[in-house]
C-alpha cells in the first residue's frame, strides 16, 4: 500500500480515483491509527469503526448531531443520546462522498478553551501530552495534527476552531456567521456559533467550505448570498493591503511575536502591503462576549430539563452550572438593561469598528492566542480562562467575521505558534487565496508536516 501518512483529503481522493489505493484501505488505515494512538490522546469520544460505504473518512466534533450515532457534546447529560436526525453539516458531508470516522472530544457543551471540561476526560496536545490542545474543538485539532483523521469539522463560538488549530499546529477556518448552517449543531451561543473545517492544508479547507456553505431552509440565520468557488479560485487573487491592529500585541509570548515578524516578511515578499490600524481594544470584547454568550448559554441549556434525553440535570458539570447561573443573572429583571442591553450596544460598536477598518484594509493579520499551548490544569486558575485566552478571537466572533488560523513556527518548547487572518463579511475567498500564497511560500515552516511525523 502507498504510504499515505500526512496526505490531505484531496490528495487521498486523487489516489483513490487513480486506483492507487482503495476506500477500504484508507478507512482501515485510520481505524488502525486511532486504535494505536487515541488512547494516549483521548481525542475521540466515539469511533465509527464499521465502514458501510465507499466514502472518504472525516472526523466531526461531537456536538454535531449524527443520525444513529451517539452525540454527547461531551456532556454526560447526553451520554446515551442517539439523534434520529443529522445536522445540516453532516447531511452535506454525506451527500458529498464523506463518511463519519468518529466524533471528536471537546469541552462539554463547547464551554471552554482546553477540552478539559469534557465529561469524557481531557484531550492531550499531540505535540506534548502534558499540554492541552486548546478548545473547545480540541479533539478535532488533535486528530488532524496527529493524523487520526485526514480532516475534521469543528465549531467555534469565539475561538473554538482557531485557538485549538493554533495550539495543535493545523489550519482552522471559521467562516462568516451564517455561511454554514447551524442546524443540528448543539447550540452553545446561538448568535456566535459557526461550524468550520480544520485541515492539513488550505486546499482541503477551501474544498470543505465549498461543500458545507450555503443557505439552509432549516436555519433562518444562514446567508442568502450563494457561496463563491473557494476551491476552484484558490490560486487566483490579488496582492492585498493587510491591517495590523496594535491592540492585539499586548503581553504576547516572545516567540509568537518573533514568528509574526517572520510571517509578515513572507507576506511582504509576496507583495502584500501593510497598514497599521486601530481597533476597539479586545478587552471590551471579553465583556461583551461573556455577557451575551452566558445569556444565550443559559437559555439554550434550559431544554435539558431532565424530562427528555434520559439523564437529569445533576449530570451538568461545574462549568455549565456556572454559565447557567451567570447567564440567568444578566437576563434577570433589573439587570437586563445594565448587562445584556449594554453588551448588545457595544457589539454593534465593535461591528461598526470592523466595517470602518475594512474600508481601509483588505485583511487583518494578528495573533490567535497570546501564548502557545498551556499545561493541563492551568485553566482552573482562571475563572474566565476561555474568555481571556480567546481575547484575540472574540472581536471577529462578535462581529461574525470570517478568520483563519495557521501555524507560523515553534516556541522554545517545540510547541506551535500561530497567526490569524481576519476577513471582511463574506470575504472567505480572499482569506483562502492569501493563505494559499503563504502556504506555497512557507509550507507553514513544516509545522503541520512535523506534527504528523511525530505520530508515525
Amino acid at each position: 500500500m502507498t504510504d499515505i501518512l500526512g496526505l490531505g483529503l484531496l490528495e487521498l481522493k486523487k489516489l483513490i480515483e487513480e486506483k492507487k489505493i482503495s476506500y477500504k484501505e484508507v478507512f482501515d488505515y485510520f481505524i488502525a491509527r486511532i486504535k494505536k494512538h487515541n488512547p494516549k490522546l483521548n481525542a475521540y469520544i466515539t469511533v465509527c469503526d464499521k465502514q458501510n460505504e465507499d466514502k472518504l473518512p472525516i472526523a466531526v466534533k461531537d456536538n454535531f448531531c449524527t443520525k444513529g450515532i451517539r452525540t454527547t457534546a461531551a456532556s454526560k447529560v447526553l451520554d446515551n443520546f442517539v439523534p434520529n436526525y443529522n445536522a445540516e453539516v453532516i447531511d452535506r458531508l454525506l451527500a458529498n462522498n464523506f463518511s463519519i470516522l468518529g466524533k471528536t472530544n471537546m469541552d462539554a457543551w463547547a464551554h471552554g478553551s482546553s477540552t478539559e471540561t469534557s465529561d469524557y476526560g481531557p484531550t492531550k496536545n499531540p505535540w506534548n501530552l502534558d499540554h492541552i490542545p486548546g478548545g473547545s474543538s480540541g479533539g478535532s485539532g488533535a486528530v488532524v495534527s496527529a493524523y487520526l483523521a485526514p480532516a475534521a469539522i469543528g465549531s467555534e463560538t469565539a475561538g473554538s476552531i482557531r485557538q485549538p488549530a493554533g495550539w495543535c499546529g493545523v489550519i482552522g477556518f471559521k467562516p462568516t456567521y451564517g455561511r454554514i448552517s447551524r442546524f443540528g449543531l448543539i447550540a452553545m451561543a446561538s448568535s456566535f456559533d459557526c461550524p468550520g473545517p480544520m485541515t492539513l492544508n488550505v486546499q482541503d479547507a477551501a474544498y470543505l467550505l465549498g461543500v458545507l456553505s450555503g443557505q439552509d431552509k432549516k436555519d433562518a440565520t444562514t446567508v442568502e448570498k450563494p457561496p463563491e468557488l473557494y476551491f476552484e479560485k484558490l490560486a487566483e487573487g490579488k496582492k492585498l493591503v493587510i491591517g495590523i491592529p496594535e491592540e492585539y500585541f499586548d503581553n504576547i509570548q516572545k516567540e509568537t511575536a518573533q514568528n509574526f515578524e517572520k510571517s509578515k516578511q513572507v507576506f511582504n515578499k509576496l507583495g502584500f502591503k501593510f497598514k497599521k490600524i486601530k481597533l476597539i481594544s479586545p478587552e471590551y470584547a471579553i465583556s461583551v462576549y461573556t455577557i451575551i454568550q452566558r445569556a444565550e448559554v443559559a437559555s439554550n441549556l434550559s431544554r435539558f430539563d431532565g424530562i427528555r434525553f434520559g439523564n437529569t440535570r445533576d449530570r451538568f458539570g461545574f462549568e455549565a452550572k456556572k454559565r447557567i447561573m451567570l447567564g440567568n443573572f444578566v437576563l434577570s429583571a433589573g439587570y437586563y438593561s445594565a448587562f445584556y442591553q449594554q453588551a448588545q450596544k457595544l457589539r454593534q460598536e465593535i461591528k461598526a469598528d470592523f466595517a470602518r477598518v475594512f474600508s481601509e484594509v483588505d485583511l487583518i493579520l494578528a495573533p490567535v492566542v497570546p501564548s502557545t499551548a498551556l499545561k493541563l490544569g492551568e485553566f482552573e486558575k482562571y475563572p474566565f480562562f476561555g474568555e481571556l485566552i480567546d481575547k484575540f478571537n472574540e472581536p471577529a466572533a462578535i462581529a461574525g467575521l470570517p478568520a483563519v488560523s495557521f501555524p507560523t513556527g515553534f516556541d522554545n518548547k517545540k510547541l506551535p505558534t500561530s497567526l490569524q487572518l481576519i476577513g471582511n463579511y463574506l470575504d472567505e475567498l480572499r482569506l483562502l487565496q492569501t493563505l494559499y500564497k503563504f502556504q506555497q511560500e512557507t509550507n507553514y515552516f513544516d509545522v503541520i508536516k512535523l506534527g504528523v511525523e511525530k505520530w508515525k
Binding site: 439523534p83 446561538s190 443559559a298 437559555s299 441549556l301 431544554r303 424530562i307
Partner: protein
Amino acid sequence: MEVSINGKKYRLVLGFEIHLELSTKSKMFCRCSAEWFGKEPNTTVCPICLGFPGTLPYPNKKAIEYTYKIAYALNCNINSEFYFDRKHYFYPDLPKGYQITQWNKPIGFSGSLELISGKKIKITRVHLEEDTGKLIHKQGKTLVDYNRAGVPLVEIVTEPDFDNLDDGKEFLENLQLIFRRIKVSTADMEKGSMRLEPNMSLAEVKPDGNIDLPDYKVELKNINSFRYAKKAVEYEIERQTKLIKNGKRPIQETRGYNEDKGITVSQRKKEEALDYRYFPEPDIPPIKFDKKELKKIKKTLPELPIQQARRFIKEYFLSKDQAIILTKKENFGKLFEETIKELQQRNKGLNQETIKQIANLIINSRTSLKNKNDVLKMLDDTQKKVNFDKNKISATVKQVLSENQQAVADYKNGKESAIMFLVGQSMRKLKGQAPAEKIKELLISEINKAQ
C-alpha cells in the same frame, strides 16, 4: 356594572387576554401539521417542535400574514419590522424551556374594536407566538403530549375597558366571528383554538362618577367557553365584594376557574410572579414586511361582521338584533344584499316591510336558502299567504263548524284538543294555503259569537 359595598359604589373593571390558534397547514417553526386536535398523542411532532438538541426554528410566513390580518381587523398600528423574543419558564409541556413569543415589538399594537353601541374597546397588542404541549393526568401519572407544541398562537390583549359582562360577551363573540370571517382560525372554544383569560378588579367610583384603576387585578385562567368566562367573572365579583365588605383588599393574583364547583382557586400570587428573562430570539433574524406586502394583506380583509351590522342598520333600517344575527354568517349578509339588489333592479316595490321580511326569511331559513332566487321565491309565497282571500278563510271556517257540531260541542265542554281537529279540517279544505294560527283564531271567535 356597579355594586354597592358598605355604602360605597364599586364598578367592574374588566379586560381580556385572548389566545387564538391559527389554522395554518404547518406549525409555527417546523413543518409538522398544525392540526393536532384529536390526534394520537405525540404523532404530529418532529425534532424541531420537540426542542431536540441543535434544532432551530424557521418561521411560518403564512402565520405572520394571518397575524397582520388580525392586527388590521382590530385597527391596530403595525410594526412592519419585528422580531421574536424568548420567554423562559420551566414546565414539562414547554420543550425548549422557553417559548418563542414577541415581547418588545408585537406585530400589532394600540388598536380598537367597536361594539354595536359604538363604544370603542382598546386593543393593547396583537402578537404571534408558539403554543405549548399538553399534560395528560392518567392513573396517578402525568404524561406529556407534544402534538400541540409549536402550533402558531396569536395573543390579543385588550385594555380593561369593560364595565359590564354583556359588553364583554358581545366583544368576545364578535371577535370569534371576525376570526372566522377573515379565515385565520376555526376559533372553536371547545377545541381550545380560542381561549379566554379575563382579568378584572373592582374600582371605587369617585364622586365625579369616574374611577381610578385599582392597584390589583385578578387574572382568570382555564376557561373554555363564553358561559364559563361569564360565570368565573360573576363568581369573582361576588368573592371580591365579600372581601371588601369585610374590610379586606383583594390582591393581585392568577386564579383558575373550576367549572365543576363553579369557583375560582388561587394559582399564583404577585410575589410568586416569574421572571421570564426575555431577550431577542437569536435564531431568527428580525423580519420585515414591505409596504406592498402589507397592502396586499390588508386588501384581503372582507367587511367585518360588526361593520356590516352597523351598515345594515344605517342603510336598511334593520333592528339591532336583526342586523347582528344577519351578519353572523358570511353568506347571510351576502344573500340579503343580493336579493335586495335584484329587487331594486326589477324595480319592484321595495318598501321597509319587504326588506324586513327578506331579513327574517334569511334568518329563519337557517341554511335552506341557497341563493337569491330561493329567497325571492320564498318571499313570493309568504306574501301570497298574507294576501290570501280572508273571506274564503272565513267561509271555510263557518262551513267546517257547521259540519262538525260534535267537535264544537266537545270544545265548549272544555276539550281543548277539539279545536285542533277543527283547524285540521279547515286546513284540508284550504289545501294548506292559510296560516294555522289565523284559522284557529277565526274558529274560536266564531264559536264564541254563536254562544
